[in-house]
Symmetry: C2
Subunit: 166 residues, 2 copies
Amino acid sequence: MLIGRGDLNVPVPELTISEVARQVGLQASAIRYYERIGLLPRAPRMSGQRRYDTTALYRLAIIQRARQLGFTLTEIRHLFFGFRDITRASERWRTLSQRKLAELDDLMDGIKAVRGVLKKLMTKCRCDTLDQCGKGIFQSTNRDVVARPLPASPRHREKYAKNLRA
Amino acid sequence: MLIGRGDLNVPVPELTISEVARQVGLQASAIRYYERIGLLPRAPRMSGQRRYDTTALYRLAIIQRARQLGFTLTEIRHLFFGFRDITRASERWRTLSQRKLAELDDLMDGIKAVRGVLKKLMTKCRCDTLDQCGKGIFQSTNRDVVARPLPASPRHREKYAKNLRA
DNA sequence: CCTTGCCTTAAAGTCGACTTTAAGTTGTAG
DNA sequence: CTACAACTTAAAGTCGACTTTAAGGCAAGG
């Protein structure tokens, strides 16, 4: 049965930014930030103030979840806008997830290597002084490190806290 | 047999900063930075320019190695200055390493959790649209997330590249 | 009318570990 | 003398993801 104009069940923007922030567990400033960088569409204003509907909550939920999974805002932007419109959400996730899994595997390998060296250091180091220690390190790293031209110091990587229950 | 004053086999500062940088695989600016923040002692100057002896190389070797193991400059400062003078190098390393190992274990747990969720996401998500997806996420996170007061977004953690051979 | 509380904006600050820049100095070679 | 390379300094810039600050707007309540 048809209903005349109006009420097409379109969500009405009625939430304030702090209400949204509370519901998704973000600070209002973060939401404004996401809007600024184009991750969220410009929210309509009521006498200057942003109003949100439930779809904004869903968008933010995705951003939140993606952040928990270690995606950068750039990657999340890709999730939203980096595919042809017809590409299904599940496929978008699959593409991004595959990349991220590979990254995580690399990261784990790195961590395992570090763990190994730390354990060896703990059990095997008998140095009295750091100078002694440093001399040993210097001479051994000379073998494989000094040869390389300019290693270009490793930059920022991801962070993975325990915000996700195992 | 005693030798008169001089030549007590004390290392003579003769290396320029760029020579040191080359030998330890750092940029000169990084070495200046370490001096500025007090991680390295102020190098003696010859007509205004820094000169280094081999002990500087050892210090830098330690810094380099510690950085590769994921220690922050603050932690390295602790390694150098955070113990009573008599504390042996090996014990200093053990103390720091233990802390770092615990940190790494936490980090690994976090990563494993994320990996699990990513894999589930890849195989289980059937969403056509991101809105659909977001709605699901929003409703499920509402159960365990919205309840918490203010999660205080997780900040910067470490980075672990593959600069260490496994 | 005034206060209160929530909102707005642009701009600057934060964190860590450096790098880059601008302006100047020193020693050496031609 | 000039050029050049290599050094010096303090200050500012970089990256990412925000937060904080300063200054102001707008509606409701007393």
